[in-house]
Symmetry: C2
Subunit: 128 residues, 2 copies
């Protein structure tokens, strides 16, 4: 049987676009970190900022807006003073953690091989 077509997950252009959109999100360092932090509990804007560490206010806002737009997090404003805004993973956001964690596990598992390949490659290119 011909599996060459069947086991490519994204083959037509519309599928490809959807996959690339998700891949773009996942390729984004901040999105992944935020989803990871939001995994166990809801966090407020500045809590998130402190927890993630190193993210600028602007990027946090932008990233959260993107995640919200994709239906991965919910934003809840409490009209207290000072204002309080809580971010929480949606069910969709939680379900994304599974494949992302799988990828992270792969990265950790194969990190030594990648590092070794890097060293080998750099050694060779230096020799030339």
């Amino acid at each position: 049987m011909d599996v060459t077509e069947a086991d490519l997950p994204a083959h037509d252009s519309s599928d490809c676009k959807a996959v690339n959109a998700v891949l773009g999100r996942v390729g984004d360092k901040w999105s992944v970190l935020i989803i990871s932090r939001l995994g166990d509990r809801t966090l407020r804007f500045n809590e998130l900022k402190r927890e993630v560490g190193g993210i600028s206010q602007r990027m946090l806002t932008l990233t959260l807006r993107g995640l919200e737009r994709d239906g991965l997090v919910t934003r809840t404003v409490f009209a207290t003073v000072p204002p309080r805004v809580e971010y929480e993973l949606t069910a969709l956001g939680h379900s994304l953690r599974e494949p992302v964690d799988a990828l992270a596990r792969w990265a950790l598992e194969h990190q030594p091989e990648i590092a070794a390949a890097n060293r080998l490659y750099d050694q060779r290119s230096q020799r030339s």
Copy 2:
């Protein structure tokens, strides 16, 4: 028990770097497409260029170099004339397909939800 630490896949900074390196690769549109194309058979440079479609020669070279450096593909030069160069997934490269395909499957599966969330978000922000 306290699982808040245990089930975060990347927590210390070195792990985080490794994960981000892989996430960067995966977030790269071309890398994923190339790995996908190389999944079933080895391809030559221009075959790959034609198969992927829309990639510039420069980006193909750069992306392949990156993948080679990470030990995901092998580059084999045949000293024929005209020269022939074949690219092939390594075992490591093949193993990466599994989590990446999982992510792609997630994307396809949840594409309608994401699209719906997008529409809803855009509607709301337009109303404001």
